[in-house]
Amino acid sequence: MNMQREELLPRIRRTVETVLGHGDFEMRDDLTAADVEGWDSLTHMSIITGLEKEFSVKFKLKEINKLKNMGSLIELIQAKLAGA
């Protein structure tokens, strides 16, 4: 499956919003957890598991430990959905 970035963004955003309880952030590539109110070590676990559920994928530990920002998260999900 080669899902386009435009299709992914709203679903990622919705998952993050559901965990954090607000949508006060922009879905830009250089967005980091530190930029988003409430995105801390506690909510991070729920965001990652929420994304795995939303996209029916399973991240490897090494993959999520290298996520620098929203851009790299989007790329990772695209790669996972493409079967990489």
Binding site: V19, A33, A34, D40, S41, L42, T43, H44, M45, S46, I48, T49, L61, I64, N65, K66, L67, K68
Partner: protein, 218 residues
């Protein structure tokens, strides 16, 4: 016992059982409650297995990293351990997220759901770590080897190995012995964090945590 019999060395995977004991002991902080078990709805025995599993992943840069730990040996026997790492140095990631990834990867989904419910209980004592500062965490000295200066030796060893300007350490506010030791080693209390949630003491050793800092060099 003379100091010449004390050796400080980096931990290896073979030290995981002692490091698990260290983490459990430090998490309990002289109480029967271990946050890693209570907050994640797991038994203490199962939590010990999960901590070992996290350590075996060999992720660097957080408190569940074997590479963060120094071990003190007395006459060849493992006697004490202490973690220390420079915040944000590994993959440019905050240690909190590395830790969260490890927990999320290792603990069952039911634990993550349990933690999500209990988030408000512990959010008050979540202390943000300063990027670039040496973080000192999870100190444990085997009861047989207390009073030999091993804790101070380990803290000084971490500071001596780092090239940063500041060290930070956190302690539950009722851990008077540890706080006294940290003061003696030049740490000063900079802020107290308190959870006002009424259920806090069902899950954590104390409702307040103190952040202490020491400036190492300009």
């Amino acid at each position: 016992m003379t100091s010449s019999t004390v050796t400080i060395r980096s931990a290896t995977l073979a030290d995981i059982p002692f490091i698990v004991e260290t983490i459990v002991s430090a998490e309990k902080s002289n109480s029967p409650r271990m946050g890693l078990a209570t907050l994640f709805a797991q038994s203490e025995e199962r939590t010990r297995e999960l901590i070992a599993a996290m350590l075996e992943e060999e992720v660097d840069g957080c408190e569940f990293s074997v590479s963060s730990f120094l071990i003190a040996e007395v006459a060849g026997s493992t006697a004490a351990a202490l973690a220390g790492w420079v915040e944000g140095q590994e993959e440019d990631m905050p240690s909190g997220l590395l830790k969260a990834n490890l927990i999320g990867f290792t603990f069952p989904a039911v634990s993550i759901a349990a933690l999500r419910e209990k988030g408000p209980i512990i959010s008050g004592v979540q202390i943000e770590r300063e990027k670039g500062a040496l973080q000192i965490e999870y100190l444990h000295v085997d009861p047989m080897h207390r009073g030999k200066g091993l804790a101070a030796a380990l803290i000084n060893a971490h500071i001596g190995r780092s090239e940063v300007s500041k060290a930070q350490i956190q302690a539950f506010a009722d851990n008077a012995v540890a706080i006294r030791l940290y003061r003696k080693l030049g740490f000063e209390e900079t802020r107290t964090y308190t959870s006002t949630h009424p259920d806090t003491l069902h899950y954590l050793p104390h409702h307040s945590k103190i952040l202490m800092e020491r400036h190492i060099r300009p």
